[in-house]
């Protein structure tokens, strides 16, 4: 093994070119990145810089065309086969004909957990995302924020140490978002998972992460990796501290340096 044992995701000179009808699209080039066990890594960058694509490569939903990547020390395909990650999409993607608890049971059914174990895990994850009592409801009976929490519960229900989240709170208002960010941090603390989190929001990235990956488009690449100096314990008002603001301004500079915002 070329990577250190603690490395959950390790990308070396990773590139991905989509072949489209209008010619090749360079979504990712020369990405070098290590995500260590227990990290909370945020990916930030302007639209089209390849954040989703990178997450999808980790998840084996897309295949790299250059370089190499390992997930838990093996190829993304093998990692997927081992069910080593949970993926939270931008939309909740709950199945409308299943109740919330049945939606959470979906991966458990597929992975062959026993009925008793399913029930135990449903109860536990519903509690983790503060949805106890809503298990019997259908998705349309829940608000958007609750649906997104249910989809997080679904990703937490099985034993994957890695959580991939693609703008999970992008469609929610700021207050709900603050609340969910706080909950997500607590959850990360309690479950000791490794999280890769895509966002467009600088404060969100700084508040959540131990490591912030700044990306820039055309072609999609990593321009800066910022290690956070904030403590693991983070109340919401940490966002007013000079330390927080300093990291935020570093991220902003990184984004600007990528010549990403032309306006």
């Amino acid at each position: 093994m070329t990577t250190t044992p603690a490395s959950v995701v390790s990308a070396r000179d990773l590139g991905l070119t989509f072949q489209t009808n209008d010619g090749p699209v360079n979504a990712l080039t020369g990405v070098n990145l290590d995500v260590r066990k227990g990290d909370f890594v945020s990916f930030i960058g302007p639209s089209g810089c390849g954040k989703t694509t990178f997450l999808r490569v980790i998840a084996d939903l897309e295949q790299a065309t250059a370089g190499s990547i390992t997930v838990n020390g093996v190829t993304p395909h093998e990692a997927r086969q081992n069910r080593s990650y949970g993926y939270v999409f931008q939309a909740a993607a709950l199945y409308p004909w299943r109740t919330i608890e049945k939606n959470i049971a979906l991966p458990l059914e597929i992975m062959g957990y026993s009925a008793a174990e399913q029930k135990e895990r449903i109860d536990r994850t519903l509690d983790l995302v503060n949805l106890t009592g809503f298990g019997k409801k259908f998705p349309w009976q829940l608000s958007g924020g609750m649906q997104q929490r249910a989809s997080i519960a679904r990703a937490l229900a099985f034993d994957a140490d890695l959580l991939l989240m693609d703008e999970p709170f992008g469609a929610l208002d700021e207050i709900v978002r603050d609340h969910l960010n706080e909950q997500l941090l607590k959850l990360w603390e309690r479950t000791n998972k490794t999280i890769c989190f895509v966002t467009h929001s600088i404060p969100e990235a700084v508040y959540l992460s131990t490591k912030i990956v700044v990306m820039s488009p055309r072609p999609g690449r990593v321009t800066d990796v910022i290690e956070s100096t904030l403590p693991r314990e983070r109340p919401l008002d940490i966002r007013e501290t000079p330390e927080f603001l300093e990291i935020a301004s570093r991220v902003r500079e990184g984004l600007r340096a990528g010549h990403s915002y032309d306006e």
Partner: protein, 294 residues
């Protein structure tokens, strides 16, 4: 609260249309049947006035267009006043047609679903099969029905099955088309989710594609059951008119029994409506059980 709303919104519009149709029908009956009365009177050499013609057009034995009450009386008579096993009973004929319809519909549904599953899961089947499925429906059923009956008769299959197969021929088509669409209806994100779980093709089918396709299936079933009935009736026409609503239509037209034709037509329409309503209720029940937003 519920009742008046239901009456005003559902019963009233239908009742108004029905009343209008009945009035138009009576007027048409008078004008279409009047020439016969005028000719009869002319042949007898007796002058006849319109007020004399009018009542006669309502009670002809072989009218060009029977009046509504004649048809209703015939349906009543052949439905309730005859033993259901009698060949003169409309219920008997309706049952003959209905049994062929249901068998044909059943086979057509299973066949249609299996073909759709094949088409969705197998690229070669998608390319090779779909054109044939579509081509099959460009051949007029009236042309192919006698051949099916004759060929099957030649190999010793007669009775219900040949008629049912004509129903199948018509009904599998909307099922294939609807189910191919339905099984392909899951969104990319829902399929990606299955992919991240490393779900097998059969797990993806039963847990995602099949439930997603239910609304499409029932919409297709409604079309399929109605054309199954048409298929069964068409299948009866070349069988030499032994029994069934199709046979009633054929016999009626041989002997100029227009009242019989019209009552068979109405029976067929009522049957079709009932079948479609039953499928509709099943549709609602299934979607409700699946927790779909009401």
């Amino acid at each position: 609260m519920e009742k008046p709303g239901f009456f005003k919104d559902r019963i009233m519009p239908v009742a108004v249309i029905v009343a209008a149709l009945v009035v138009i029908w009576y007027i048409a009956a008078v004008f279409l049947n009047a020439p016969f009365e005028r000719d009869t009177a002319a042949r007898a050499g007796t002058p006849i006035t319109f007020s004399e013609i009018l009542p006669k057009t309502m009670f002809q034995e072989r009218p060009v267009l029977p009046a509504p009450h004649q048809v209703i009386a015939e349906i009543w008579d052949t439905t309730f006043n005859k033993a259901v096993t009698s060949k003169r009973s409309l219920v008997y004929h309706a049952w003959i047609t209905l049994s062929a319809t249901l068998v044909g519909f059943g086979i057509g549904t299973v066949l249609g679903i299996l073909l759709a599953i094949g088409i969705v899961h197998n690229r070669a089947m998608d390319r090779s099969l779909m054109p044939w499925v579509i081509a099959s429906q460009t051949i007029p059923i009236l042309a192919i029905a006698p051949m099916i009956i004759v060929v099957l008769n030649a190999v010793g299959i007669s009775g219900l099955l040949p008629k049912a197969l004509i129903s199948t021929y018509l009904s599998f088509f909307p099922i294939v088309v609807g189910m191919v669409k339905g099984l392909r209806s899951p969104e990319t994100i829902q399929l990606d989710l299955m992919h991240t779980y490393y779900a097998s093709a059969s797990q993806t089918f039963w847990k995602l594609r099949w439930p997603s396709s239910m609304p499409y299936l029932f919409t297709s079933l409604k079309v399929a059951i109605a054309i199954s009935l048409v298929g069964a009736i068409v299948g009866e026409l070349p069988t030499g008119a032994v029994a069934g609503l199709g046979a009633r239509l054929l016999a009626g037209s041989y002997y100029g029994q227009t009242v019989q034709i019209w009552s068979a037509l109405f029976m067929a329409a009522a049957l079709a409506a009932t079948l479609v309503i039953i499928v509709g209720l099943a549709h609602t029940a299934v979607l409700k059980r699946m927790g779909m937003k009401p």
